[in-house]
Amino acid sequence: MDRLRTRWIIFSGLAIVVIVSYLITIKFKTAPSPATLKAYKYLDTLPEKSVVIFSFDHEASSLPEIQPIALAMLRHAFKNDLKIVGLSLFAEGTAIGYDLLSKTAREYDRQYGSDYIFLGFKPQYISAILGMGESIKRVFPEDYLGNMTDTMPIMLGIDSYDNIEMVVSIADGDRTVQWVEYAGARYNQKVMAGLTAAMITSYDPYLSSEQLYAVVGGLRGAAEYENLLDKRGGGSRGMLAQSAAHLYILALVIVGNIIYFRNRRRGGGG
């Protein structure tokens, strides 16, 4: 019963901390990390009409964290009049990617088929990534809406990675690794990523060796990108809640250790 009560207090405490933090508006000045700055500068300096692939390689569960990153990068791309080819190597990413791409395109009055396209989902991501190096239209003969890709204006002149400036993989797992290992290593395709915070360290070796061009990581990465873009979004709004939750966990660790040492001194163990 005591154990249950402790858990109930801890859970309620976290819920209160996060909810209250979301109700308060404090603007944090987050200095951009080198990786976020590199991603921003790359998209910012691309010539108009350059083609960028946005691959939504994530599940719906990570949406609250990953969507602000995708949204900030898509807004930047549409703002700079880049052409976007959307796709997904995760079945669940399909609806998410199409929805997000369409809604963001509307903000900037971009037209489906000429300014952006969503190719949908392909099973077996390795063969899809490798296949696109040979012919994107062969891997995706139809787009998400059932149109023949070779009849879409945006796809005229696009057939393989040779015509793609950058692949942006929005991922909550290791799908970006496959983009690096297959599109990057075999076809010299530049790849950058928008990742959940938990995945950042897994990608550090690729980032350091420049196999991965840049990373926008976690809610903080989204907030940094939004600051650079000067458009507040989910990342900036979530910063206070995330900071508060981190401090709450820090406090729990400290209190837990105080109790542990007090009990040990009394001879009761942990």
Partner: protein
């Protein structure tokens, strides 16, 4: 014969996929493109197998009248409903399919995933103890990274984010690299063993 044919197929495709990497010949490219297409088609069929297995297992549980029967029924309804909505109403913006995805599936999955934060909070209180020297080092490192990743860290001290960056860039990355190199070597060895027919566990260990 039952084992020899799969072994020969495996060897042939392993060798072809290895050799084509080094060739830009038209035939090599055509073979490569065809194999990539076959690969996708075969994988698409595995999705059908997955769905069939899911339906079979759930129906079996329902017929046995176990305690979790209502959940199994909801699962099967969900499985049937989403494709039906997509077929009837399409998948465009404003379609019932996309509405269900956005307002039912996504929030439910995000809710389950967010429970992780509560368990992390509980575990940090119960399990994260400075019992030994190595546990203390791990604990302190985790605390530094925990604070260093929030914007507040820059207000507390400029060296906090720098220390976090150093931990991620050196000790953490060194360990990651070692793991990745190990995985790479292991993958190569396993691939070679499978191609040469030494590793046969995919044939039920025969």
């Amino acid at each position: 014969m039952r084992t020899k044919i799969p072994l020969v197929v495996c060897l042939a495709f392993g060798v072809i996929m290895f050799a084509q990497y080094f060739s830009n010949h038209t035939i090599a490219r055509a073979v490569y493109n065809n194999i990539l297409e076959w690969w996708q088609i075969i994988f698409a069929f595995t999705l059908f197998v997955g769905v069939a297995a899911f339906i079979k297992n759930n129906l079996k549980s329902i017929s046995r009248g176990k305690k979790d029967t209502p959940y199994k029924i909801v699962s099967l309804i969900g499985l049937a409903l989403m494709p039906l909505l997509a077929i009837i109403g399409g998948t465009r913006i404003g379609s019932p399919f996309l509405w269900s995805f956005e307002n039912m599936l996504a929030p439910m999955q995000a809710t389950v995933f967010s429970l992780l934060a509560f368990f992390v909070a509980s575990a940090s209180f119960r399990g994260f103890r400075a019992r030994t020297v190595s546990a203390t080092i791990l604990l302190l490192t985790a605390l530094i990274v925990l604070i260093g990743r929030i914007p507040l860290a820059e207000m507390i001290s400029e060296s906090l984010p720098k220390t976090t960056f150093w931990i991620q860039s050196y000790p953490s990355m060194a360990a990651r690299r070692a793991i990745l190199i190990g995985i790479g070597l292991g993958s190569m060895t396993t691939a070679l063993r499978v191609i040469l027919g030494i590793e046969r566990t995919y044939l039920r260990g025969e």
